[in-house]
């Protein structure tokens, strides 16, 4: 063991205490060739390969579980390779962050529009592998909507380019086989590093639109009323550019927040239409900026006493589920309290968009959740709570299980990944697909 091998385990999830002896090598390649060399090194020794980006996700997929494995980080592959303003794309290496890309695009008055709250550290390679989206996914879509193609190194060293409707490869047989199973960018999205190492992405960029936006704050009696508002916004295809719901906040971090409430930013000429959907108070630019900042920092803040953690990344309420947010949250909180957790904050993108395992789009609210960890709780007890939350969500029709992008118990997505791996071979981040994935995860809490 050396320090380099241990620190590669650093990630934002609750799964971070791993058996470091099983990390057999750590690579920080800069080029496609170096990625191929690292993959070959692992393959020759029979090790699994786990790709890692910024480590800001909460699923634990970037840990590689408990297999003997080689970790390949994309953090040194952060170059913006080319920009085509006319054709509206940018070619980037996988370790670039949305912030880094947008700094370079700003002088061209162009923007890459997928900007999650972790945009300062989340890499676009990692974001495609989790199909990440920002608080404006409602209007700008998730990573899969904004990725035109991804170049991937497979476990056997071959290269493929996955596009939105097909796959290309210099190996014509491989190309034919993958196209016959209909592989597209949808399959790479949410694959959690199980298919290969993304070495380059072509991302959609669009002009920065100078439109006059204003802020608004809508407060509600309860979360169902908020859900009904979101439903109407979705039905009317509301042009809201920024929507963040604060459903609950612990007194330590509540400040001036009055949940449940909805922070909105929208075109000025939409204000009268919005008034037909919900009551709201107009915000000054300063008030809006302050509230955005409060929201941005909520996931990272701690209570005055004790520590917070995220048992789940997020709960997705959509369709008829939007009528039952109150009941859903109450059930979740009851379960948390049963296990000694104190609900700390629930907030999230709303309205938002994400994809289910069958690639159908869902529209609703992505509710992030943070809890105060009880002192002295064992990792087994923590993970028991997680698994009970999975079951609760299953029964209540809430999508993330335990994270909406997490494939291990999303049978449709899991089967699809297995189908593609039959063609391209196994060897990438296999633990995610193992039937005992939950046991592996519980050992790392």
């Amino acid at each position: 063991m050396n320090i380099r091998d241990i620190v590669i385990g650093a990630n934002a999830s609750i799964y971070y205490r791993m058996d470091f002896r099983k990390i057999k090598g750590v690579f920080y390649p800069r080029t496609d060739e170096q990625v191929q060399e690292a993959v070959a090194w692992a393959r020759e020794r029979g090790y699994d390969v786990t790709p890692k980006g910024g480590g800001s996700g909460l699923s634990g997929a970037c840990t590689g579980g408990d297999r003997d494995r080689v970790m390949i980080s994309s953090l040194q592959m952060k170059e913006v390779l080319s920009v085509s303003k006319d054709q509206g794309y940018v070619d980037v290496q996988p370790g670039a962050t949305p912030d880094e890309i947008n700094v370079l695009l700003a002088p061209l008055k162009m923007k890459f529009y997928v900007t999650p709250s972790s945009r300062d550290v989340a890499t676009v390679g990692g974001m495609l592998n989790t199909d990440g989206g920002g608080n404006d996914a409602w209007v700008n879509g998730t990573m899969r909507d904004n990725t035109l193609r991804a170049k991937i190194v497979l476990y056997d060293g071959r290269l493929i380019t996955v596009e939105q409707k097909s796959v290309k490869s210099s190996d014509s047989q491989l190309e034919s086989d993958l196209n016959s199973v209909g592989m597209t960018i949808n399959d790479v999205a949410s694959s959690h590093g199980t298919l290969g190492f993304v070495t380059e992405l072509r991302l959609s960029i669009r002009p920065i639109v100078q439109e006059r936006l204003i802020g608004g704050l809508a407060e509600y009696r309860d979360s169902d009323e908020l859900g009904s508002t979101l439903r109407r916004m979705i039905e009317t295809k509301s042009p809201v550019k920024y929507g963040e719901a604060i459903v609950a906040a612990h007194p330590d971090v509540r400040g001036e927040l009055r949940p449940p409430e909805l922070i909105l930013e929208f075109p000025e000429d939409y204000a009268s239409n919005l008034e037909n959907i919900t009551h709201f108070r107009k915000l000054t630019a300063e008030e809006l900026a302050k509230l955005k900042d409060v929201r941005l920092k909520l996931p990272k803040r701690n209570p005055k006493k004790g520590l917070q953690l995220a048992l789940f990344e997020d709960y997705g309420f959509y369709g008829d589920g939007l009528k039952m947010i109150q009941e859903g949250v109450a059930g979740i909180d009851l379960l948390l309290k049963k296990h000694g957790f104190v609900p700390f904050a629930k907030y999230g993108h709303a309205p938002s968009k994400w994809y289910l395992g069958n690639n159908a789009a869902a529209y609703g609210i992505i509710l992030h959740s943070r809890e105060i960890r009880p002192e002295g709780i064992t990792k087994a007890e923590v993970f028991k709570a997680v698994m009970e939350l999975v079951d609760l969500c299953e029964e209540a029709g809430i999508t993330p299980k335990p994270e909406h992008k997490w494939p291990y118990n999303d049978k449709v997505k899991n089967d699809r990944i297995q189908q593609i791996r039959e063609v391209i071979g196994e060897g990438f981040n296999t633990f995610v697909l193992q039937s005992d994935c939950n046991v592996v995860l519980s050992s790392m809490v």
Binding site: A10, Y16, G55, S56, Q308
Partner: protein
């Protein structure tokens, strides 16, 4: 065995790094990570190691490697600044450095010479304490008559005490800044004195090594001498000294100011600077983040009508003893910045002798704000 107090302190410290949610926001803004590109050099990586320390300490080689990593840090405080989880990373780095030196002094023998110098001759260069006011006096006495009379103990009392610090007292590269500082004070008829041989190191290097006892001895002496002068204000050009004087000396009745604060307050308007070159402004980390002096340097530049480009709020690579602990890394940080921010075609304005050394050492043009100010003041004086 740990005493109750020590146990409580240990618990507090552990709780602090346990608060880290490993979000990674501190990673890309860290100059060390930027230069090295691997996670173990990032603040998150180091905190993560503390969180899984039980697995690290069982292996002596890993513990040794971790101790080395602690000193591969510029202590710039940017990680603390960006952290939304209330983790006081700077405090953790201080505590862990002290612990590292205590646990394995043999690994830090190269710092021993510095500690010995500070103990024996009270400066970081191992030079005679008497020489504190020799080099620059020789250089400047002709230009600034009566400068010798400004040096303690010849000058016994004054309204303002100038605390030069080791770098400015001994380094030839700082003489232009000293010249500008003294000339400005003379032109503005400020009643000031310099401590000369009675000035000891402020204690900052020992603080960075976690040697609180050693730092305290130096502080006690300085505080006594400064009090004797009856000064109402204490000014320094060095943000490292400033952080010590402001935060660790607990002065009463004496206001501690950075020289940019002092002159900004004193001057409502300034003769415009006749600018012929392209300027950028580099915020010294200890001035900007640790002492929270952000507006005064800019205010002075504005009053002089200086046009400049703001640089990223990043470290020059010269902080945290990094020049001693890993000089190559220190240089690499500056070289990366110079390339990224196109510094070779500009003159970098700053207000810190350590940043100045770092910039000059990497063949970049630099000026302290006071050098611009003295030009304006001299112009106005005719």
């Amino acid at each position: 065995m740990l005493t109750t107090t020590k146990r409580a302190q240990k618990k507090r410290s552990e709780m602090t790094f346990e608060k880290c949610v490993r979000c990674g926001s501190c990673m890309k803004i860290c100059p060390i990570f930027d230069a090295m590109g691997e996670e173990q050099y990032s603040p998150r990586g180091k905190l993560y190691l503390l969180q899984v320390m039980d697995k690290v300490e069982s292996d002596p080689e890993l513990a040794k490697e971790f101790r080395r990593l602690l000193f591969q840090c510029a202590m710039c405080g940017r990680c603390t600044d960006v952290c939304s989880s209330d983790v006081d990373l700077l405090r953790i780095w201080h505590e862990q450095r002290a612990r590292a030196i205590k646990d394995a002094p043999q690994e830090f023998a190269y710092l021993g010479a510095l500690e010995k110098s500070l103990e024996n001759v009270k400066n970081i260069y191992g030079l005679s304490p008497e020489d504190r006011a020799v080099y620059w006096l020789d250089e400047l006495e002709q230009e600034i008559p009566n400068l010798r009379k400004r040096v303690f103990p010849e000058a016994k009392t004054a309204d303002v005490v100038v605390f030069l610090g080791c770098l400015m007292s001994f380094r030839a590269s700082q003489v232009d800044v000293l010249r500008a500082l003294f000339k400005s004070l003379e032109i503005l008829k400020v009643d000031y004195l310099v401590l000369g041989a009675e000035e000891f190191c402020c204690g900052h290097p020992l603080d960075l090594m976690g040697d609180e006892a050693g730092a305290k001895k130096l502080r006690t002496h300085n505080k006594r001498v400064i009090k004797q002068t009856g000064a109402k204000q204490l000014i320094t050009c060095c943000p490292g000294c400033l952080s010590q004087l402001q935060n660790n000396y607990n002065f009463t009745g004496i206001e501690v100011l950075h020289h940019t604060q002092f002159f900004d307050r004193l001057l409502q308007s300034i003769e415009p600077y006749k600018q012929t070159e392209e300027f950028t402004y580099h915020d010294p980390c200890e001035l900007h983040r640790i002492c929270n002096v952000k507006t005064e340097p800019r205010s002075l530049l504005k009053k002089m009508g200086v046009q400049f480009r703001e640089l990223e709020l990043s470290c020059c690579g010269g902080g945290g003893l990094l020049r001693m602990t890993d000089p190559n890394l220190s240089d690499k940080i500056q070289q990366l910045r110079a390339a990224r921010e196109k510094l070779s075609s500009t003159t970098v304005i700053t207000a810190c002798p350590a940043c100045r050394e770092q910039l000059l050492g990497n063949n970049l043009k630099t000026k302290d704000i006071i050098e611009l100010l003295v030009t304006c003041l001299s112009e106005a004086k005719g």
